[in-house]
Symmetry: C2
Subunit: 402 residues, 2 copies
Amino acid sequence: MLIVKKFGGTSVGDKDRIMNVARRCAEDFKKGNDIVLVLSAMGKTTDELIAKAKEINPDPPKRELDMLLTTGEQVSVAMMAMAFDTMDIPAVSLNAFQVRMHTTRVHGNARLKRIDTDRIMHELEHRRIVIVTGFQGVNKYDNYTTLGRGGSDTTAVALAAALHADACEIYTDVDGVYTADPRIVPKARKLEEITYDEMLDLATLGAGVLHNRSVEMAKKYGVQLVVRSSLNDHEGTIVKEETSVERMLISGVALDKNTARISVIGLKDEPGMAFRLFNMLAKEGINVDVILQSIGRENSKDISFTISRDEADEAVKIIEANKARIGCTGISCNKEVVKVSIVGAGMMSNPGVAAKMFEALFNENININMISTSEIRITVLINEKDAERAVNAVHDAFGLEE
Amino acid sequence: MLIVKKFGGTSVGDKDRIMNVARRCAEDFKKGNDIVLVLSAMGKTTDELIAKAKEINPDPPKRELDMLLTTGEQVSVAMMAMAFDTMDIPAVSLNAFQVRMHTTRVHGNARLKRIDTDRIMHELEHRRIVIVTGFQGVNKYDNYTTLGRGGSDTTAVALAAALHADACEIYTDVDGVYTADPRIVPKARKLEEITYDEMLDLATLGAGVLHNRSVEMAKKYGVQLVVRSSLNDHEGTIVKEETSVERMLISGVALDKNTARISVIGLKDEPGMAFRLFNMLAKEGINVDVILQSIGRENSKDISFTISRDEADEAVKIIEANKARIGCTGISCNKEVVKVSIVGAGMMSNPGVAAKMFEALFNENININMISTSEIRITVLINEKDAERAVNAVHDAFGLEE
């Protein structure tokens, strides 16, 4: 079997954890499996590097920030190869240039386009464990790019697809995918299986277990994922096209604190204004989430949207700079909001799911700011102070603890 | 003018120093010069990375150690590009893959073979300061290599040669090349000019200002070097083919503490034994310095040689492992020795220089362990405890303070 295994920053945070990962992989390797290991930067390295950069330049050029950040994973993979060497397990570390992970041009948030497999296959044929830097790629100008937070998951799935791997295991600090975050909802239950679409919505909505792009890619290429703990041998959660377990109405409740609401007030009521607004954000690589447009006063309109909290300041800055062009009169930004979502492939055929969710929130006297829905998801934006109560109330209302 | 400037680890050790280097380079850039900047890893980064590696694996595979160490310079160049950005100076950082610095295969001590100049020229044509990682290269297997300690000097000189630069400035924490180390010899005097050959011997012998390979390369390609301080604007020392100042008998006294003496006792007196001994060290990339062979007892011979102190343990290990093959009876290693050398193009035509040096040491009652000479250099190996007295005595004897 060819197994792609991905370990995050916490799992390789120090010497003991690195040795632990090496031992786990060595076991599978000795059974005759081929192992491709994808690693993130050790512990808080990426955050530390960003802080270091900001000491020099509060707004560092993104190309150079990527150049800086990519060193983090390179340290991890080199250290891991050294760990295998102490066990006499042949291993080799490869960065994005050595594999050649081709990405789109954009820095800080690039997408993988293609992965050359020659070097990896060559190393596997020589029976070496191949340790690949997650999160990073190289664009057509030979510049380093990064895939955005959680990008190592995407690297792992893309490698599994490109190498036609037999399994893709995502190791994390939780046992699998739960019906809600167990730190917030004590009654949360681990799911045995979940569909790509459900996981996709959970990932997008901040369940924090898998990066959304990685799930999209897994779905696109039919890569079956296993999410499991790097700290124990418990069975994890399998992510695949169709689950075999009987369909629950909803699979889980997700809480996303990394959100902010930006309101652009008094936009000229002319065609193309929304396009201009969101196009200028897109050009800077900023992803907008839920969008709500309403009629303002005197021939104008207001647009509100949610966005990653860490990109909110930059978005406001960009809009401020282009105030004249889009002719808006005011911009406001609220960072004290969260998204609560319920996700479930079962809800497609069940009317009344939304009503049940709103009822649970109403019973807790929680105010809803914005609503957004997809076929298998309902999301509400609420005040941050209500977050925990909301998640527990919804979890209870749908009887997810069973 | 196209100027290559190299700054070492101390010069980019923290935020203030990085900004300082950026300001100095920005001045030259604004005057219309093209600037290629070569940087080492920040401060003690390389040592720290080595220590980290050894926590995991006391004897890390060299390929992986290079993979780890090359992150050090990449951090430096990215941070420097961010510093230029705060001054609105366009700049771009490049690592060994992006420039494509081709080296030989060997890890930890590779040699530069060829440098592709396309990318750098492209960036210069767009009027950007180009910041290149020193010390590192890529071999034909697409693996990172490092050039050994002080390798950033070599990177700078090689770039100056490849780009046909008008000047190559090596910035360091001293004002230039002195007749002796001013920390040891208070009367030491700064030289205005020095020849490649003299500098080569001084570098090889541990004057610590320039890496020997960088001087060899400068000589080979006729790259005129300036050694100057990163902390002030003093004129430095020019290193070139022929000095215009009147020839001193000797130019300086060098002290090299990074040395150890290994003695291999009772080697079989057969042809090829010395070849076997030194070939097995060379294959591991270990450079041997002064070699002395003497007749041992009963049809055997003893070979002593000096070697970098930090490679001594590895050399002993290699010889121990091959004891049977070379048929030796004992190995000893003395790390408490130093090399003291006098260097001067003027000594070629002056007999009695060696005698004068030995006399100065005799007057101080300092015992000489080994002697080695070249046309422009005389080196003695003495006990470490006598080092400072020896250097001062020799400096006085040749009247270098004048």
